[in-house]
């Protein structure tokens, strides 16, 4: 370390005065002081600040992935009767237990949940920092945020409309649509290899039934567990299709399973669940809804 330059008595006076004068220049004439008068002025927080959550009710599908991933167990699903959206399930948050890790925001498959820059959550009443879903609702917020997650348009299949005509597979220039037979149904279902897809929309144009639509999907930070279907246990009870928040499960009739009833008429054929895995968000609701061990989902708690 070099020896410090020895100051004479003028240096002792004028060097500090020069420094403080510079500070006055910076804080009085050019700009403002560094401190912020908190309740009156507020800092411009960065948009990635983790504060109180907002929830876009229209984007949220009620998959409860946020509740699943929450490490402090501070979120819960509420059943709400909404005049516009009908019967829905939406998460509520207890801010008193929240550790603002942001996992719920990252895991949200439709980017409906966001953390705002609002940090003034203190309250004299513990009940007031428990926010129900309706208090979190802000349908306009999600459009304003610049989302860091990559968004890409992806053709999404509505299996109810699909007739298995193979036109989409023939049209696809990347050869990423393969027609796969659905076991014991006797129909073909297009399966789209999403990594190859370039979103050229040719399959959407080609589809005569308009079963394919382009939809914005967000890239996930997490590896999503996929449901494994065991056909032999399925009774066709429709519970998984009802439970699925992303409409990825369709019930299809299996021809050749009709039984002859006592009055001689044929009953309706047995049904089975068919999964469109492009839509699946990996929430495990079907796995929990199924009472016959027909669906397995490794990595998801019952």
């Amino acid at each position: 370390m070099p020896a410090r330059k020895r100051l004479n008595s003028f240096g002792f006076v004028f060097r500090p005065m020069k420094r403080t004068g510079k500070q006055v220049w910076e804080s009085l004439i050019v700009g403002k002081p560094n401190t912020v008068l908190y309740p009156y002025h507020k800092l411009n927080l960065p948009p990635t600040y983790r504060g109180k959550h907002t929830l876009d009710f229209k984007k949220c599908i009620g998959c409860a992935n946020c509740v699943q991933i929450c490490p402090n167990d501070c979120m819960w699903m509420e059943k709400i009767e909404d005049p516009e959206l009908g019967k829905i399930e939406r998460p509520g948050i207890d801010m008193g237990r929240c550790l603002f890790c942001g996992l719920c925001v990252e895991v949200c498959p439709t980017v409906a949940l966001h953390e705002t820059v609002e940090f003034e959550l203190a309250s004299s009443d513990r009940g007031k920092i428990k926010f129900s879903a309706k208090e979190l609702r802000d349908d306009s917020y999600a459009d304003k945020v610049v989302e860091e997650r990559q968004k890409r348009a992806v053709p999404v299949l509505d299996l109810g409309k699909c007739t298995g005509c193979e036109k989409c597979a023939g049209e696809c220039p990347e050869m990423c649509i393969a027609m796969m037979p659905v076991e014991s149904v006797g129909k073909l279902k297009p399966e789209i290899a999403l990594p190859k897809c370039t979103a050229c929309e040719k399959c959407v144009v080609a589809c005569p039934e308009k079963a394919l639509t382009m939809k914005d999907m967000y890239e996930s930070y997490f590896e999503m567990p996929e449901p494994k279907f065991i056909l032999k246990n399925c009774t066709g009870c429709n519970a998984c299709a009802k439970a699925c928040p992303a409409d990825a499960i369709y019930m299809m009739e299996m021809p050749g399973t009709e039984r002859i009833l006592k009055d001689g008429k044929k009953s309706k054929p047995k049904k089975r669940a068919v999964f469109v895995l492009e839509k699946c968000v990996g929430c495990g609701k079907c796995f929990r809804a199924c009472k016959f061990q027909s669906i397995e989902m490794p990595g998801v708690k019952k």
């Binding site: 008595s9 006076v13 005065m17 403080t20 500070q23 401190t35």
Partner: protein, 375 residues
Amino acid sequence: MNLFTFSYGIIHWLVDLINHLWYWLGDVLPWQFGDFFDAVGEFAASDGHITVMAILVEVLIIVIIALVNVLNFIWIDRKFMGRMFDFYGPYYVGYRIGGWLQNLADGIKLFVKEIITPAKADKLGFLLGPIIFVGSSFLALSTIPLGRDFGISTNASGAGVPGSALIAFAFFAIAPFSILICGWSSNNKYTLIGGLRSAAQMMSYEIPMLLTVASVFLMAGSFNFMEIVDAQHDVWFAIPLFLGFVIFLICLVAEVEIQPFDLPEAEAELVEGWTTEYCGMRFGLFMMTSYLRGYIGGALATALFLGGWHGPALIPDPIWFLIKAYIVFVIIEWMRWSVPRVRVDQLLNIGWKRLMPLAMLNLLIAASLKTLGWF
């Protein structure tokens, strides 16, 4: 028309007005009181009485101006210090005028507080100390004119008081004794150390300061503020006697007892030194008076070195004077919040080994300039 004739006129007019009422009352009341009424009315209308009352009005005007300046000074000090340390300074009280009312709010708070005298304190000294401190500081204000026609020391002729500068310095130098009295009578080790430090400090700064002032007297050829300022009509004394001006500023800082020479009330070592035992408005008076002394110091530097009220005629004389005093004060405050406190032995070294020879040199320069006939 100067301040004296102005206040003389006001008092004369008031006395006339009241005398009308008074004589009318004498006529209305029974006749036995007539002589008494006449005598009182004649006394009120006499020249001596009106002169005394006019001087009182002058004092009132000057003191009010000084007190308003003190409020400004405290505000400037706190705001400037705040910006220097990168925070806002006073802000809420008087939001629209930059927190200016904060001083008044603090004053009110200090008024409401209880005044406590320590049980083992010397009661008389404890009471007398603040009185001498505040009174001598106000007396030092008495002879400093703000303009040719604006000051207590002006009289009907406008010539000012002979020897007014000497009187100002004499009153200005009383304060260390009152500090010693306060420190001694409080019966507290910190206050005692503070008071004795004040006495030791006084020895170091008073002599160089008076030597530089003597050089000014030599250049101007007078002890009168009026003539000293008039002698600077062409050239301010700060230019030929720049060395003296710097020495005077340093000594002024020591005289006013602000950092780096605030040894008697060193917050860090002596817990506010000689003011430790004082609370409530007594402390408020000390605080106010220390800034008043800052104002007096700025005024003295202005009158002796910076050409007093001389300046372009665009701005009135007293305003010129105040602007210069404010600039001196701001420079002193700038130094105050930049420089650390010196030790007692360092202060004595500075006073006796550095400033004293330089002040002698400055006196020699002034004498040679005067001998050469340049002034």
